[in-house]
Symmetry: D2
Subunit: 153 residues, 4 copies
C-alpha cells in the first residue's frame, strides 16, 4: 500500500460541536438563512484548528499571516433548521494535499440523526500578504496526521 | 426540436447589477468573507425576481407565502475581492424545472473581466407553511420564459 | 418603602455567559465590527430568557407570537476586542415596567476585568401580529421578580 | 461670533441615500433585525466619506491605516421596517472635534416622512496600528468644513 493511499483511508474521526440555532441565524421564513450555515461552519473550522489540532487559529491568521480561504464548495441542503433547534456540527478531513485540504462539514439533529445540510469544502493555505497558496504549515499537517486513526492499524 | 430542448437553449440573457464591496463584507484578512458572497447573491436573486421578472419578491414571501430556498450549490472562488472593489453580479437561468430552477450566479470585475467567484445554485419553490416543494407559480414561469431570448430566432 | 421603590433596588444578579470572539465577528481592522456586539448580546438575551428565566424564547416568538424589540439603546465602546479574545457577556435588569424593561448589557475581559463595551437597552414586549406593545407575559414577569435578590432582605 | 460657535451652526446639509430593506436584513418577525440598521448606516458613513467628502474610504482604512470606530451611540427605534420597504438613510454632522465627530444618522420612509430609527453616534479617528485616537486628517476636516453651509452667509 502506498503512503498516499494510506493517507486517504485514515481521516476517520469527526470533530463535533453542539450549536443552538439562534434568532439571528434565521430569516423571515423562520428558518436558517443559508449563508448563515457557512458562518457557523467557519466557526467550527476555527474550533477544530484550535481545539482539535491544538494550533492557535487566531495567531495563525494575525501573527503567522496564514489564511485558510475556501476555493471550492459543494453544499446540499436537505432539511430546514428552525430557531431554537439544538444541532450538531461535524467536521472530517477527506483529503490532505500539500497546499490544500478537503473537509466534509455537516449539520445534523443529534436526536434523530436527520441531516440538515452537508458541504464538501476545499480550503487552501495562503500567505495573507500575497493571497497566494503556500505549503500547509508543518505543525498543522502533523496534527492532522496525528489525529488520524489508521484504518489498517 | 422538442420544447424541452428549446427551453434549455433559450436562457441566454444575464441579469446584471453593480455592487461595491463594503467594509462590512470583509474579514480580518481584508477580503470578502466568503459567506457574504451568498448574502450579496441572495440580494441579486431578489432584484432579479422584482425587477427582472416584474414579480414582487417580498409579497411572494410575505403574502403569497412562497419561499425560494436553495437545495444545492456548487461554488468556485477564483480571485479575492477587496474592500472598495466595484464588482458586477450576474444571474442567468440554466434550467427551468416544474418545482425548481438552476441559476448560475457570478461576481466579476467589470473592468478586467476577472471572475471572482461563481456558483451554480438549485432553488426550489416551497410553501412557507409546510416547507414542501410546490409548482413554480405561473406568473414566475411565464416571466422567465418571456425574458428568455430564443437563440434560434 | 413602596413596592415600586423595592422593585428598583432588587435586580442585582448579573446573568453571565462566556463568548469567544470569532473571525466572523471581526472587520478588516481585525477587531469586532461594532454591530456584531449587538448580535452577540441578542444571543445573550435569548440565553437569559431560556436559561435564566426558564421561558422558551423560541416558543415565545414563534408560538406565543410575543416579540422583544429594542426601542432605545445607549452604548459605550471602551476598548477593542480582537479575534480569539475570550470575553464574558453580562446582563442585568435595571428596570421592570408593565410593557417594557431596561437591561444593562456588557462585554468584558474576565481575566483583567477590562470593560470592552456596555449598553443600556430598553426592550418592549409586542404582539408580533400588530407590532404593538403588550403587557409583559405573567410568567416572564414572575421569573424576573423571582430571580431578583432583594437588597434589603 | 466665535469660530467654535460658527462651526456648531453650520453643519446643516444632510447626506441622503436610498436603501431597500432586503430579505437578509430581516428576522423571523419579518422586520429589520436591529443590529442590521447599524450595518446599513456603516455603509452610509462609507458612502458619505467617499462621495460626500471625496475621500477614498477604503484607502483611508487599508493604506492610510486610519480607522473610524464608534465610541458612543444613542439610538431610538420608532417604527418597524419591513422587507421590501424603500427607505432613505440620512447623515448629518452635528459636531466636529479635533479627534472625534458626532453624526446624526437616521432611517425614514421618504413617502410619508415616518422616522423608523435615529442614532447619534460619536466616531473617533484612530491609528489602526495602535488603536489610539489621532487627529482627524486635514483633508477630511477641510472637506467637512467645505461641505458645511454657513447658516449666516
Amino acid at each position: 500500500m502506498t503512503s498516499e493511499a494510506a493517507e486517504t483511508q485514515t481521516f476517520m474521526a469527526e470533530f463535533l460541536r453542539p450549536r443552538m440555532i439562534r434568532f439571528s441565524d434565521c430569516d423571515p421564513a423562520g428558518i436558517v438563512f443559508y449563508p448563515q450555515y457557512f458562518v457557523m461552519l467557519n466557526g467550527l473550522v476555527e474550533d477544530w484548528v484550535s481545539e482539535g489540532l491544538g494550533i492557535d487559529y487566531h495567531a495563525l491568521i494575525s501573527e503567522r499571516r496564514i489564511g485558510l480561504p475556501t476555493v471550492r464548495l459543494e453544499a446540499d441542503f436537505r432539511a430546514v433548521s428552525r430557531m431554537g433547534d439544538k444541532v450538531t456540527l461535524g467536521l472530517a478531513v477527506e483529503r490532505l494535499g500539500s497546499r490544500s485540504l478537503t473537509l466534509v462539514l455537516r449539520c445534523f439533529d443529534p436526536a434523530s440523526g436527520e441531516l440538515r445540510m452537508q458541504v464538501k469544502q476545499v480550503l487552501v493555505t495562503t500567505s495573507l500578504e500575497s493571497h497566494r497558496a503556500v505549503e500547509i504549515p508543518q505543525d498543522m499537517r502533523a496534527a492532522i496526521l496525528r489525529g488520524a486513526t489508521p484504518s489498517r492499524a
